[in-house]
Amino acid sequence: MSEEARRDVSQPRAEERAEFTNGAAAASVLAAGIGSLALGFFTVVVEASEGARETLNLYDPVGPLSGKTTFAVVVWLAGWVVLHLAWRGKQVSFGMVFAFALVLIALGFIGTFPPFFEVFSYE
């Protein structure tokens, strides 16, 4: 192996040595938490309100699940864009952001769990 080739496999390239800022990663992780929470929130709201059930029924054969999932995805993407623009290229407290995201994800899991959301049933 030539000296140049050996250097190529044993040394990080310039882009691999680039300064590490965790803002974009934190934005992606927190946005996933926001999307998860949104899904849990819409699931509970549809259970609790007949109006919400009708509003979120975007497509009759699928029922309100069509709106719950569509709007959760919209909230997730919108949150991601906003956070990414705010944090890209910056260093943030990743541990704090991740812990907060985990709380939001846990709330998302809880909100989609039938024994929980049925507590709010209007029927």
């Binding site: 974009a24 996933a32 998860s36 899904l39 029922g63 990743f94 991740f98 998302g108």
Partner: protein, 176 residues
């Protein structure tokens, strides 16, 4: 031996897309876990990152296709309202709700599955994006890498709940 259109799409949803996602999980997890500067040469990390980018994006796409096909193609057949005098076995939701011994498969099983599985593509996409954006540099960022592992496991758990419940519900009340 033949499949109806409905059986074909149900198989694509569960045994194709969903099962591939679950099977690919172990490889992705091992890739994220092993992405450490102290365990790999620079060339090894570079090769591992290439596989990890491809693997995590394939899994994220599989997760999206699974929930989109499940919700927009298969689910309408599951929840269709039967006409007067119809054979309820052709209408799984109504069939399950008509029998007190089976109704929990809908009120708990399907209600949980249809919602929680949507968390999987959101979490898997977050992981895939970070792997793509940071690549090689993740080997020097153990905190971020550990967070990705947690999100990856949660994506798997959400999909796993859907997969297990889907298999049982299909056994009790198949979409014919």
């Amino acid at each position: 031996m033949s499949l109806t259109t409905r059986e074909f799409w149900t198989a694509i949803h569960g045994m194709g897309l969903g099962a591939l996602f679950l099977l690919a999980f172990a490889g992705g997890l091992a890739g994220l876990y092993g992405l450490r500067r102290e365990w790999e040469t620079v060339a090894g990390i570079r090769e591992q990152v290439r596989r990890l980018i491809a693997g995590t994006w394939i899994m994220a796409i599989l997760a999206w296709l699974t929930v989109i096909v499940g919700t927009w193609v298969v689910y309408p057949w599951y929840r269709a309202t039967p006409p007067e005098g119809a054979d309820l076995k052709e209408y799984p939701r109504s069939y399950l709700l008509s029998d007190p011994n089976l109704e929990a498969w809908h009120t708990f099983g399907m209600e949980w599955k249809e919602h929680v599985t949507w968390l999987s593509p959101i979490l898997a996409t977050a992981v895939a994006y970070v792997v793509l954006r940071y690549g090689f540099r993740l080997a020097d960022a153990p905190g971020v890498r550990r967070a990705l592992i947690v999100l990856f496991v949660l994506a798997f758990l959400a999909a796993g709940v859907g997969g297990i419940l889907g298999a049982f519900i299909t056994k009790v009340a198949p979409i014919l």
